[in-house]
Amino acid sequence: MRSNDSSPFPQRWLPYLLLAPQLVITLVFFVWPTYDALSGAFYQSSPFGLGTHFAGLANFTALFTDPNYLHAFGVTALYAVATTLASMGLGLLLAVLTEGLLRGHTLFRTLFIWPYAVAPAIAGALWMFMFAPQVGPGTRLLIALGIHWNYTLHGHQAMLLVIALTAWQQIAYNFLFFTAGLQGIPASLLEAAALDGSGPIRRFWDVTFPLLAPTTFFLLVMNTLYVFFDTFGVIQIVTQGGPANATTTLVYKLYEDGFQNLNLGSAAAQSIILMTLVGLLTVFQFRYLDRKVHYQ
């Protein structure tokens, strides 16, 4: 905050008036639902729908002993790790290659960032058509290559498809941040390394890569958050969590249990678990960003 802490303006009611719209929205659509979820998570519906009763931690223990929930955890983790590794690796490679260009930065940047703006659900529709069983052009290519492609039957193929299409979108985002990170590296450092006689690859690993560590960490968190929470549309359009739950992520499971099976206590407990996860990731992100600010 400001070091000079006297109030620039003396009005007493105006600040509350200015804050009111944001606070009302926050209280009604964030605090109230969160309170509902917190309290609902500790109740269960009685059999035959005769009201609810306090159940303590039963909803949580039920989740952590439910093989389907643990499976959804595993699916989400695999999805996040594979997508993050692929899209960060490729994003970094493209950023490094583009950065060394003498001209054409803007053109290539445009050609690489546009998938960022495509809605995950729409990206899902495009890729679903490409790899649709029998008719998809990608499917025909794979079948011609001797691969028995039908992602609606084979769970690992469905997983591969959602990973590939999510990585396709996320490369754009990672490319942008790595480009920004590369531009922040002082040219003098790289020149000094070149004078010392290290080649371009040595220079990358000894100078560039360590200086990109802040960006890399930030992107790791952002990509994980993205895959965990923003890919509902992809799953719903392309696989509906199938085949045989092979692509049921945590958010998709929450949707199924809350809206299709109407298991309210479990849905509330799942919301709480997901909020805790986002909270932890956000704290990580900020602790780390704090450190970065001190460096500068």
């Binding site: 620039p8 303006f9 007493r12 105006l14 600040p15 200015l18 804050l19 719209p21 944001q22 606070l23 929205i25 926050t26 659509f29 964030f30 605090v31 639902p33 969160t34 509902d36 979820a37 493209l94 290659l97 060394g100 260009l101 445009t110 050609l111 690489f112 960032i113 809605a119 995950p120 659900a121 729409i122 529709a125 495009l126 890729w127 058509f129 008719v135 052009p137 990608g138 025909r140 396709w168 942008l176 941040f177 920004a180 960006t215 929470f229 923003d230 509902f232 549309g233 719903q236 359009i237 958010v251 929450l254 809206f259 509330a268 919301s271 997901l274 909020m275 996860l277 986002v278 956000t282």
Partner: protein
């Protein structure tokens, strides 16, 4: 000589990747420009002549059982603009209050807003749906927009920006007899132009691309948005003897064009907005 060769190699490689990245869009374009029968046999490599016809048919008629695309595009535009403008207005006002006034509970209010950063709609959708239903906001533009317009990110960025403005600006304004509202409209707001443009791009794309929330809160086709509507079209197309992939791909292209155009045309501001959310 060697350097030049390496440079040419780089351009070839980058061009190849750019083409690969564009393949899904190209295939959608090819599919959208043919009749459904053309897509049954060998997949055509070049666009056909039916693009205009398919666009018009999707826009005006849609598929039986799904609303026409023009209606869904209109709803998406309303939702995206409502969210983007709403977020900007409430965030800039609350950031202004937190930075330029000292009042009891100031930091409590700030942390309350900041907390929303940890609660994306995807984790709180179930209880938020119940609250929205309780307020009779299902199947309304209010229900589509209001629960999504609180933004910790935008508030945080505007706060950071206001903190960088020199204190002398306020003091000078006060000596001139300007009150807080005059100072806001004459000084703070014009100076925030670039931030506003950057955030507008980000939030417009965010609003346009929402899927889960409109899917849950609108059951009436009048309020369907294009991104959620594509699922209905895919389902509807199953009832045809020939799958209507040409119309679905035409719709997908119509759905992705507005946000992609906004990002590509405003990329300078958008990049500024993206790279600044890092801080």
């Amino acid at each position: 000589m060697n350097v030049r060769k390496a440079h040419a190699g780089r351009i070839v490689l980058l061009t190849l990747v750019a083409i690969l990245v564009a393949v899904p869009l190209y295939i959608a374009l090819v599919a959208a420009s043919h009749s459904p029968r053309d897509l049954l046999g060998q997949f055509p490599l070049l666009p056909g002549h039916q693009l205009g016809h398919n666009f018009a048919s999707a826009l005006v008629k849609g598929l039986p059982g799904a609303p026409p695309v023009w209606l869904m595009l209109g709803n998406s535009l309303l939702m995206a603009l409502g969210i983007a403008i709403g977020k900007l207005v409430i965030s800039i006002l609350s950031a202004y209050a937190v930075v330029y006034f000292r009042f009891p509970l100031r930091m409590t209010a700030f942390w309350l807003i900041f907390m929303t950063l940890m609660l994306p709609v995807e984790v709180r959708f179930f209880p938020t749906y119940q609250v929205t239903a309780g307020l009779h906001l299902l199947n309304s533009y209010g229900g589509l927009i209001l629960p999504l317009i609180a933004s910790a990110t935008a508030t945080f960025l505007f706060r950071q920006f206001f903190l960088t403005l020199p204190r002398e600006l306020v003091d000078a304004a006060r000596i001139d007899g300007a009150g807080p509202l005059r100072f806001f409209f004459d000084t703070a707001l014009p100076l925030s132009r670039t931030n506003i443009a950057a955030l507008f791009v980000l939030e417009f794309v965010y609003g346009w691309n929402q899927f889960l929330w409109p899917l849950l809160t609108t059951t009436h086709q009048r309020y369907a948005t294009i991104v959620m509507g594509i699922q209905g079209m895919i389902t509807a197309s199953q009832s045809f003897a020939l799958p209507q992939w040409n119309l679905i791909m035409a719709t997908a292209i119509l759905a992705l064009t507005p946000p992609v155009l906004v990002v590509v045309l405003m990329q300078r501001w958008f990049i500024k907005g993206l790279t600044e959310t890092e801080k």
